[in-house]
């Protein structure tokens, strides 16, 4: 049993995550097509259609989280998609192709995506686990004004921490490439 506020926070956070991710992929446009091609997982002819399809799936998932319906399915699909991304990253890390961008930024496409690293795999797995927590049954409780305030504050904190973590990943990749070029 989890508190309805926690369920609501998870749903809103994932709605935000998917919508921003979809927006990023659409606004990066051609760059995302190139990034997906760099993953070298799909036949070349599929790259473009899949690059168009992924943001659509993400946007639908984002809106679905907002409706609050069929949470079990949506949470499973979210965890599945995050897992698939993690697998794609892990395969390319295994191939030693750690210089390619992850194509996993949020919001308007400015600056570079972080380069691939095991941290990204860990991030996706952790996010998937949080999504699955939304499947747990909710206890019954009326949400008051204070709960909505808490929800807003929690989301703000999550957004800032997520952005901070992404920036640290980018710094980490830059420092790693710097070290490599000095060796």
């Amino acid at each position: 049993m989890i508190d309805p506020l926690i369920g609501r926070a998870i749903a809103t956070a994932f709605a935000l995550l998917w919508l921003l991710a979809a927006w990023h992929k659409v606004s990066a446009g051609e760059r995302f097509v190139a990034t997906l091609g760099e993953y070298r997982l799909l036949p070349a002819a599929w790259t473009r259609p899949v690059a168009r399809l992924l943001p659509l799936i993400e946007a639908v998932l984002g809106l679905a989280w907002l409706t609050g319906l069929a949470t079990g399915w949506i949470a499973s699909l979210t965890a599945g998609l995050l897992g698939a991304y993690a697998l794609a990253i892990a395969i390319n890390l295994g191939r030693g192709r750690m210089h390619i961008g992850c194509g996993c930024g949020l919001g308007a496409a400015s600056g570079d995506d972080p380069a691939l690293s095991w941290w990204l795999v860990a991030r996706n797995v952790a996010l998937g686990a949080v999504a699955m927590a939304a499947v747990l049954p909710l206890s019954q409780r009326e949400l008051g004004l204070l709960d909505w305030l808490t929800l807003v504050f929690a989301l703000l904190a999550c957004v800032a921490l997520y952005a901070g973590a992404s920036q640290l990943l980018r710094n980490g990749a830059a420092i790693a490439s710097w070290r490599k070029s000095r060796d």
Partner: protein, 209 residues
């Protein structure tokens, strides 16, 4: 009691958000600092031949085993464009077709250069890019000779063996500017502004270009 908890909770939320924003700002600053500091040590090579100097001919072994000579006067008096690329550099890949088409239209001798131990990786890369017709040199010495620090880097050696231009080439325009610089004899855009506007020249004197 409840009121006190309520106030403390709201206050704590505010502190958490402020802290999260501070952490984000710190991380951004570290990122910006890194961008500013890193090139200062790497981008501007003080060593290596200068533009206008006569280069020394040196022979390296190409990936296909044939000897490749870089520098010095060319037998056919054709200019040589050396482009340093690497399998681990995504920008380089985008520049290769540009370099090939430019070499064709400008009648340049095109040489690709790289370094690293895994020869098989370079062979696969050459096959990938379809540049097996051009000499491809895997040599740290060649990179050191021209003080290459960041990729993609290009140097243009005139048919007479004089180094005509060099630089970090991130875009098609950068690459074209190397040839333009050789043709017009103007070293850089800054020089060009100086030639056309003598007043600017005076004010620019002593400044690094």
């Amino acid at each position: 009691m409840t009121d006190a908890l309520l106030v403390s909770n709201l206050l704590l939320w505010c502190v958490v958000i402020v802290l999260a924003v501070v952490v984000l700002a710190l991380a951004r600053q570290v990122g910006v600092l890194h961008e500013r500091v890193a090139p200062a040590g790497a981008l501007m090579p003080t060593t290596g031949p200068k533009v206008g100097e006569l280069t020394q001919p040196a022979t390296y072994r190409g990936l296909d085993g044939n000897p490749v000579t870089v520098g010095g006067p060319d037998g056919d008096s054709r200019a040589t464009l050396v482009l340093w690329i690497s399998p681990t550099c995504p920008v380089c890949k985008a520049l290769v077709p540009t370099a090939v088409s430019m070499a064709r239209s400008e009648r340049l001798r095109l040489v690709f250069a790289s370094d690293g131990e895994k020869l098989a990786q370079h062979q696969a890369y050459v096959g990938d890019l379809g540049i097996s017709a051009y000499p491809y040199v895997v040599s740290q010495a060649l990179g050191l000779a021209y003080a290459v620090s960041k990729l993609p880097f290009a140097v243009l050696v005139g048919g007479d063996g004089v180094l005509r231009s060099k630089g970090l080439v991130n875009t098609r325009e950068h690459l074209e500017s190397l040839v333009e610089s050789m043709r017009s004899g103007v070293l850089s855009l800054q020089d060009y502004v100086g030639i056309t506007d003598p007043h600017r020249d005076a004010s620019l004197k002593g400044r690094p270009t």
